[in-house]
Symmetry: C2
């Protein structure tokens, strides 16, 4: 496996594969915190962790016949040595559907599982478009009860709060595919292609407003740049019904249900409405009010996947981009009911519902919303190395700190004092410890408070202390080491 | 990305790709515990988390020219749409070397990083041979000090203890490549091929004993089946020196050093010995005695990778296989000094040293050693669903338990009471909660202690309680719900 160091002059360039990034501790802190918090919520609701390998057979992912010319279309695929095509998972739902189909007989049913980990999309990489990102999902497979959907919605709402988006700062928006399906059937529109165009038009409500959607549902829309988008060519009755659907009040679930009950349409529409009513009922029992989960018939969520209820998690607070410019953040997670995925394998319909947090995206949202963790990323205490002969003293100090649960290290490079202090600063070390010959002889230890130094440098603290020769520097008896470091860590 | 549900009759078989497995909560508990414990040790030593994408360019992994016929030899490789070959990482060291080379100018130096995650090997899968497994590494890049090696060794020892292998149950064995190199140079053996055969022979000491190794160092060895393995053809002086090296006492580092100092050989040998002396010195300062890290010149660790010190973590307790038969477990992790990996990219030698725990393997070792976690895997409290109309009551009970931090769920399938109890049992639920019409009217709730039921069934507890009609079943006021569940959880 491991090749011998190469004797030739070939030197590969050290570079990331396109669309993949390296992440250091500061980049990972938010994601780890999110995964821990959301996993705890899922576990509290009785969901069981499942981990599948990163590969699935391409046919299991819905890529039935890999195109020999473009085997990686959309996914990262390769051919195993028995000629079967495998691909890296593009989400966590497809592996669940495969797992459930494979193990259905022996699973406790309904099967409630959560999962987290990277997923991959083989798309054109761009500045902020990555080809690997992290998801954290919970799904219930084998229950057709609306209460199962309600529970997923409640977990999503609780997950948002667990990561720091308290009530009012984010909300779960819920709709049901059956409403639109029912409306369209009611006005005689049944062609899947037309339905698809209508869904796409509704999905643009945020951006284009009711008038823009109205045009896209009709003959089409001419945008500001002069481009014309062909419309769904629906009749007036259909357009009016859809616009009425989209105009539903959203602040209170009861009001939304009232509005929808005034639309009518068909059996499918009534079924969708009944399901939303049952979900409202269950959400109330779970203590989830309209401030945390509301009904919003404009929610679409993907185009050809969900079969009933759909939901998404949206930020409700203004966000800004890198340059401080306000931006619409969009959703940080979504889900819904998908009753056909397991059937792809077995032919038997298995009802399923679930939710997926885009963890990388949620971390970015927290950052943009200024709601990222308050915790300060801190490096280890750095013991300065003055003299190779005194290494055992330095190591003893570091070991004592670690035994007290404090991260600590001895500087192990070959640079001098000044570079070592700079190293400690770059590691975000809260303090450096100096143990020169004098200290060793006197049984003392000198601590330099680097947090204080950084605060002084940034003008966060009054700089009068700067006027003393060594601000934030104290010498204490060796026996007071741990207590003195704790005092610095505590401020 | 997501294809429409397929209308054809094609049904893919639900199956795992060969060599990949699904793991449920019970399989994952040990691995998660290990990752948490070992990460905490690494952080306490001042190591910083790094996460790289799963792909590296094939040239960065040392596969310079992918063979068009067999691009996946050893790794899982595919060609990106710009024709560059990428491969899934086969360990966590190669991505670190690439990262360090790429970012060397801007990193705090020495750079101390830890990392964990899956790695992939494209090897022939077998019953217990998987193609994806988990590693957890710590490396120091940019320090040539023996103290850097000592620190890695100390962390490895502490990691073993942190996962439950207390002192005496596992040990770190340390050697130095320079000892053998120096010995061979001293007796005039310099051909790399001969050195390789000698290393391979030494690596078999455990299995073949000194006599077997002696034969392999000489003309060769005839095994019991009649197969002849060609030897290194070393001269008597070289063989005697190597055998003396391998016969070193191992219980005490000082004794081993004494023995080795009686061998001599060449400057390289002396250098290797000096380094081990410095490591011994630093280990003492770190409080790591010979019971936790010993010198063992028979340790080889891979054949063409490490350039100096090498170490491995070995179980010291008897282990048994599935059938209770004693087995030699071998190492659960290893590492050493590798000063050439970064130079592959930059041409400049950067000293580096590190250690990798095979996490999946360590979990298996803990299992085999009977040292797996004491924690009992427990499912959620299950609220039995008698009646769809009473769902709000069930949900309210579940929500109350969750608010108290207790995992709980309402049964959401469509089966009757008996199947629901079986479901709760299969989920390893500690208790089922029954809220029938009588309980709701009376303001009470009935709890069934399922842990007790399982213990009675297994004969762990006296079965006199069985004679009561409903063992472990109590009815309490609704207000006593949380306290009563806690009482069951606490026993």
């Amino acid at each position: 496996m491991i090749d011998a160091p190469d004797d030739t002059d070939f030197r590969p360039e050290a570079r990331n594969p396109r669309g993949f990034v390296d992440r250091r501790a500061r980049d990972l802190a938010a994601e780890r915190r999110i995964l821990t918090a959301v996993s705890a919520v899922y576990e509290r609701y009785g969901f069981e962790l499942l981990d599948t390998g990163v590969f699935e057979y391409a046919d299991a992912l819905g890529k039935f016949l890999p195109d020999a010319e473009r085997p990686n279309e959309g996914v990262f695929a390769l051919q195993d040595d028995d000629d079967q095509w495998m691909a890296l998972r593009y989400d966590l739902t497809a592996p669940l559907a495969r797992f459930a189909a494979q193990n259905w007989e022996t699973l406790p049913k309904p099967f409630r599982r959560y999962a987290f980990g990277p997923v991959w999309r083989n798309e054109k990489p761009g500045p902020a478009r990555f080809r690997q990102f992290t998801q954290c999902d919970a799904d219930t497979v084998g229950s057709n009860r609306p209460e199962a959907d309600a529970e997923i919605i409640a977990m999503a709402a609780e997950g948002l709060e667990a990561v720091g988006l308290s009530q009012g700062r984010a909300v779960i928006k819920v709709s049901n595919r059956k409403l639109l399906d029912g409306l369209l059937v009611g006005v005689g529109v049944t062609a899947p292609a037309q339905k698809l165009i209508a869904l796409r038009a509704m999905d643009k409500l945020d951006r284009l407003g009711l008038q823009g959607v109205k045009e896209l549902l009709g003959v089409g829309r001419l945008d500001e740049s002069g481009d014309f988008t062909k419309g769904a060519n629906l009749g007036t009755a259909a357009i009016d019904a859809i616009l009425k659907l989209l105009s539903a009040p959203a602040d209170d679930r009861g009001e939304t249900l009232n509005w929808l009950s005034g639309i009518g349409g068909s059996d499918a529409f009534a079924e969708g409405l009944t399901e939303l009513g049952q979900i409202d009922h269950a959400l109330k029992a779970l203590g989830v009010g309209s401030d945390r989960a509301r009904f919003d018939p404009s929610i679409v969520r993907g185009l050809e996947y969900y079969t009933g209820v759909v939901f998404e998690a949206d930020l409700q607070i203004p966000t800004v981009d890198d340059k401080g410019k306000p931006v619409r953040f969009g959703s940080v997670g979504g889900g819904g009911r998908y009753d056909d995925l397991v059937a792809r394998f077995t032919g038997e319909k298995v009802p399923a519902t679930g939710f997926s947090f885009g963890v990388s995206r949620l971390a970015a949202a927290l950052e943009a919303a200024g709601a990222a963790g308050q915790e300060r990323l801190r490096g280890p205490i750095v013991v300065i190395a003055f003299n190779a002969d005194d290494m055992p003293h330095y190591f003893a100090v570091a070991a004592e700190l670690r035994a007290a649960g404090i991260a600590a290290e001895v500087y192990l490079g070959s640079s001098g004092m000044k570079a070592q202090m700079k190293y400690a600063d770059r590691r975000l070390s809260p303090a450096a410890i100096m143990l020169g010959g004098d200290e060793i002889a006197a049984g003392t230890v000198t601590l330099k408070d680097l947090d204080l130094g950084r605060e002084l440098a940034e003008g966060v603290k009054d700089n009068s202390a700067w006027k003393s020769e060594r601000p934030g520097q104290i010498t204490v008896p060796r026996s007071a080491l741990v207590a003195s470091v704790r005092a610095i860590l505590g401020h």
